[in-house]
Amino acid sequence: MRELTYAQAINEALRQCMRRDERVVLLGEDVGVYGGVFQVSAGLQDEFGPDRVMDTPISEAGFVGGCVGAALTGMRPVVEIMFIDFTTVCMDMIINQMAKMHYMFGGRGKVPMVLRTNIGAGRGAAAQHSQSFHSLFMHIPGLYVAAPSTPYDAKGLMIEAIRNDNPVIFVEHKKLYVEKGPVPEEEYAIPFGKADIKRRGADITVVATLAMVTRSLRAAEEAEKEGVGLEIVDPRTLTPLDKETILESVKKTGRLLVADEGHKTAGVAAEIAAIAAEEAIEYLKAPVMRVCSPDTPVPFSPPLEQAYIPDVKDIMPAVKRLMEYA
C-alpha cells in the first residue's frame, strides 16, 4: 500500500472531507498561505480558497469561540491550535462553551467541531511549546479526545472526528508528523472507542498513547530478546476509552504498564491504572507501572529534555520490575 506521513494523512483526510462537505471549513493561525507550522494544511487554501481555509488573527479565544458559534449554526469547522500549550488562552471556549452546550441546553443544539492540536517534547522548544496535557480534556465530559499514533489511524480518526456530531479534541504528536506508514487512498472512518492492538504478547499489557506507541514497540523488540512478550494496546481515543479491550488484555497478561507522555500525576496513565485497579485487580500479578513525563515543566537544554522524554530507557526498567512478579 502507498505510504504517507502522519501529517500528509491528516491533510488528505481534511481535503477529502472538504471536497465532500461544504460545511467543513478550516481555521487557525498560519493554516492558509503557510500551510500550518507542521504543514498539515499544506495546499488546502490553494484548493478551497481563503474563506474556507482561513488564516486567523493570533486570537485563540476569538476564533475557537467563533467555531463554536459556527458549529451551532450548521457548519463543521476544524480549528488548529498550533501547540496544545496555546489552548490555555481559549480554555473558556473549550471547557465552558463547546463541551457543555449540548447538555446545558438540554439537547438543544450541537457543536460538531474538531479542535486539532499537538503535544510532545523533543524539539528544543522549552516549557510553553512542548507540553502534553491532553489528559485535561479527558477530564471534561462532553468532549471526545482522539489520539492517533500512526498515519493510518490519523486519517481514519480525523474523518470520523469531522463526521461526528460532538466536539472533538484531536491530539496529534509533533514527533510523529514525519513518520511514514501505509494509508489507503479512499475515505475511511475509524470509529471512536475502539482500541487497536499494535502488537501481541503474553507477558505484559502496555497501554500506550501517541508517540509512546512507537517507543513501546521499540521496547517490545528489546524485551523479546529477553524472552518477555509485550502486548501493545493503543486506545486511539481517550474519550471514549475502550476499557473492554484494555481489561481483556490485562486479564490475559496479569501485568499492566501504561505509557503516556503526559505528566505522571493525575494523568492518562493514572486514569487507566485506576480502571485496572477497580475492574481487574484480581487478575493483576504485579503492581501497575506508569511511564510518563516527570512532574516538571519541559526543560530546554538538550540533555535535560532527552532525560525528560519518556522512552525505551524508561520503559525497560519498568518491564524488568513487572517481570519480578511471577
Binding site: 460545511r23 471549513v25 474563506d51 474556507r52 486567523t56 488573527p57 486570537s59 479565544a61 476569538g62 476564533f63 475557537v64 469561540g65 467563533g66 467555531c67 463554536v68 458559534g69 459556527a70 458549529a71 451551532l72 449554526t73 450548521g74 457548519m75 469547522p77 473558556d92 471556549m93 465552558n96 462553551q97 452546550m101 449540548h102 447538555y103 446545558m104 441546553f105 438540554g106 439537547g107 438543544r108 443544539g109 450541537k110 460538531p112 465530559p141 462532553g142 471526545y144 470520523e160 463526521r163 461526528n164 456530531d165 460532538n166 470509529p191
Partner: protein, 327 residues
C-alpha cells in the same frame, strides 16, 4: 423615524412581558420556588425589545447571565422558560441549564451564557457561518459594560470587523460589573469609543428610550445585512434589582438609594406608555388590555411550571453527547 403602530404596541408588549416575568421571579424566588441564581433584567427592557424588534426569526442572538429579557424579546416561550427556572423536565433545557442557559436554536437563541464575555466569539462565529452558508442572517450580541474589558470583547470586535461579519454588538452599560462601578473598572465613560480601534461605527444611545435603541439597531442591522460589517451600540441603562436575587438590599452596599431612584424615574416602560398615550397610538384602556393578557400568560407559565415534573434521576446522564454518529 416613523414606527408603525403595530410595532409600537409590540414593543410595549415585549417590554411589559419582560417586566412582569421578572417581577414574578422576584416573588417566586423570595418564596423559595425558584432554586439557584436569577439575574434580573428589570429596568433594561428597552434594550432587548428595541434590538430584537429589528431581527427576523432566523437571525441569531447571543445572551448573557442576565438573559431573560433577550430571550423573551427574541420570542422564547414563557412556559418553557418558567419550567426551566423551576428546574423542571418540561423546561427549555429539560431542567439541565436553568436561568443562565436558556437556548432555542429554532428561533436563533444561541444560548444565554454564564461566562461574562463568553457570548461574543460565539456571536461572531454565527455571523461567519451565515457568510459561509451564503445567507443574510444577522447576529445580535448582548453583553455588559464589564465584559467590554474582557479579551473576548476585543478579539471578537477585531475578527468581526476584519471579516465584515454581520454582527451587531449591543453593550448594555448598566454602570456596574456586579458590585464594581464602571468608573472603577474602566478608565473611559463611553464604551462605544472602543469601536474606533476596530474600524467600525460606535454609537451611544439612551438605553431607557426604546425609540433610540430601535433606531440605532435599525441602522446597525441594515448595515450588517448589507454585508458592510459590524456596529457597536452602547446602551446606557441601569438594573433596578441587585446583581442577582439575594444581593443584599438590591445592591445598596455599593450604590445609593438616591441613584436607584434617579434611574427608576427614567423607567423605560412608563416612558413608552406615556408617549403612546400622548401620540394617541393607544389609550389607557388599550394598554390595560395588553397588560391583562400578559399577566395571564405569566400565570399560565407559572401553572405550567408547577404542574411539570422534575427530571428523573437517570436523565442526569443524558445529553452529555449527541448519540449516534452523524450524517
Amino acid at each position: 423615524m416613523k414606527i408603525p403602530k403595530k410595532t409600537l404596541l409590540d414593543l410595549y408588549a415585549t417590554m411589559f412581558r419582560i417586566r412582569c416575568f421578572e417581577e414574578r421571579i422576584v416573588d417566586l424566588y423570595a418564596r423559595g420556588q425558584v432554586p439557584g441564581l436569577a439575574h434580573l433584567y428589570i429596568g433594561e427592557e428597552a434594550v432587548a425589545a428595541g434590538v430584537c424588534a429589528q431581527l427576523r426569526e432566523d437571525d441569531y442572538i447571543t445572551s448573557t447571565h442576565r438573559g431573560h429579557g433577550h430571550v423573551i424579546a427574541k420570542g422564547a416561550e414563557l412556559k418553557l422558560m418558567m419550567a426551566e427556572l423551576f428546574g423542571k423536565k418540561a423546561g427549555y433545557c429539560k431542567g439541565k441549564g436553568g436561568s443562565m442557559h436558556i437556548a432555542d436554536m429554532e428561533i436563533g437563541i444561541l444560548g444565554a451564557n454564564g461566562i461574562a464575555g463568553g457570548g461574543l466569539p460565539i456571536a461572531v462565529g454565527a455571523a461567519l457561518s451565515a457568510q459561509w452558508r451564503g445567507t443574510d442572517q444577522v447576529t445580535a450580541c448582548f453583553f455588559g459594560d464589564a465584559s467590554s474589558n474582557n479579551g473576548t470583547f476585543h478579539e471578537s470586535l477585531n475578527l468581526a470587523s476584519l471579516r465584515k461579519a454581520p454582527v451587531v454588538f449591543v453593550c448594555e452599560n448598566n454602570l456596574y460589573g456586579i458590585s464594581v462601578g464602571q468608573f472603577k473598572h474602566q478608565p473611559i465613560k463611553d464604551i462605544a469609543i472602543r469601536a474606533t480601534s476596530y474600524d467600525m461605527p460606535g454609537v451611544v444611545v439612551d438605553g431607557n428610550d426604546v425609540f433610540k435603541v430601535y433606531e440605532a439597531a435599525s441602522k446597525a442591522v441594515r448595515r450588517a445585512r448589507a454585508k458592510e460589517g459590524p456596529t457597536l451600540i452602547e446602551c446606557k441603562t441601569y438594573r433596578w434589582r441587585g446583581h442577582h436575587e439575594g444581593d443584599p438590599n438590591q445592591g445598596r452596599r455599593y450604590r445609593t438609594q438616591e441613584e436607584i431612584d434617579q434611574w427608576k424615574a427614567k423607567d423605560p416602560i412608563e416612558r413608552l406608555a406615556n408617549k403612546l398615550m400622548e401620540d394617541k397610538v393607544a389609550g389607557a384602556a388599550k394598554l390595560a388590555a395588553i397588560q391583562k393578557e400578559i399577566l395571564q400568560e405569566i400565570d399560565d407559565a407559572v401553572a405550567f411550571a408547577n404542574s411539570s415534573d422534575f427530571p428523573a434521576i437517570e436523565e442526569l446522564y443524558e445529553d452529555v453527547y449527541v448519540e449516534g454518529s452523524a450524517q
